[in-house]
Amino acid sequence: MENNLLLQINNISVVYSDVIQILKAVSMDVRKSQIVSLLGSNGAGKTTTLKAISGLLKPENGKVTEGTIDYGGHNVQNSAPETITRLGIIQVMEGRQAFKYLTVEENLRVGTATRWGKPYKKDLEMVYHYFAPLVARKSSLAGYCSGGELQMLVIGRALMAQPRLLLLDEPSLGLAPLLVKEIFEIIKRINEEQGTTLMLVEQNANMALQIAHFGYVMENGKIVLEGDAKDLRENPDVKEFYLGVAASGTIKSYKDVKAYKRRKRWL
């Protein structure tokens, strides 16, 4: 294993309820202190990949049936989330899953669960430094926060755990474009200043490829394309299918049947 590799996924297959196969022989490398983004349409298996890493497949009756997930010398496939989070892998789930009946600050304190009893004041300050809007909402219930504040809250909460590998599932979901930009800038700063390695699942491919170092494209539970983010940005297929720009630079129309056919070739 290369020295700067943090996480290596070797040929994993994931099956739900013993019958439904979602991932088929997926392999990925995540290097230290990089942002790796995972693109693909709905149902491609992006979230499942993240859950396979974080151990959250288990409560949903999912299992890694083949292959290994190697994280700094530990084989973490099918381990319990309590174990995996304590190794430094924290997943921020899709859909801003805040604790509605806890205040913002209490939400952040739950992030210290992996290192119970250790001081956390510095981390609180760090989170408030990155996500300034949270300071004013400190003692109000998370259930009454806006979508943008909630997204900041759940990312901040994960940072409280001092993760080495942070898995972000669609941080831009349902947010205004300006806010998306702000959040992506903060994610980039966290990566640069804290050295946190990030895996980013996104529908907003444009944004994701701008801050990522490396990218994978998934279709139907397989990886169909991988490369440096800047190469992917230039790739005509990615441009057309994920960045919404046709080869000529104009917005593509659904009328174009050829595009549909070309997409089929990937499967």
């Binding site: 959250l56 309590e82 924290i90 997943q91 789930m93 899953q97 604790f99 009946y101 992996t114």
Partner: protein, 292 residues
Amino acid sequence: MEFFFQIVITGLSLGFLYALAALGFVMIFKSSSVLNFAHGGLMAIGAFLFLVLSAWARLPIWLAFLLTLIGSFSLGFIIERFFLRPLIGEALIEVIMLTLGLFYMIKGLLLFIFGGDLYSYPDFLPPVLTFHWGGIEVTGVYVATFIIGLIFLGLFGFFFKYSSQGIYMRSVADNQPAAMALGVHVRRVFALSWAIAALVAAMSGIVLGIINGINVHEVSDIGLKVFPVVILGGLDSIGGAVLGGIIIGLLETFTGGYISTGLREVIPYIALIIILLIKPYGLFGLVEIERV
């Protein structure tokens, strides 16, 4: 007027007893949505354990008290580990039926050992606790109930509001998958909530024993009275359990004092039906936060 104050004060301390009993019940419901029918059984175990240690083994009162609390805390852990954990992932109704079975098992076991007799604790309350004010006299047991209730409700409020472990427990009640993703040990939280619930139940069992003396039937049936209390306050609200307890306590003593002692036992359930008609979620039941 003196009679009135007397009733208010007895009602309040009875209310604290109910609040304490309801607290453990609410805790289990909050963390795992299980209605714990065995709660009265846990109260009875605590009360009899204290009896054995204080009256039979003649340990000093403080030591007997401490050992009872430690014993019931461990019992809560054991019950969770051996009876409830295998049922994680099964339908809720199975878990609830299990607690009902557990209740009859505990009750049967206690009846087998102690029979249906009425026992009483050695008189250990210092006489200074008896409270005189004008013509009003409140006996030491009620003052003690009041003080113990206040201390423990305060401690639990503090634990859930400020301690990290308390906040983790609330996070599991709030959103279990999210808590799991952050590394909160969910099974440990369940075990801890059963242990704490058993501890509080034992505590309220002892207090009940101090007031009335203990009898297997009576102590375990008071677990049933927890239902009007928690439904009045809202099943998932600790503050509601406290207030519900006080209201039911006052309601009982007032009915007993002014109307008829025969009605006294029934009035909580009459109140329960009226509350369910008017406010089905209870006074402080969870109002679903929804942003529109």
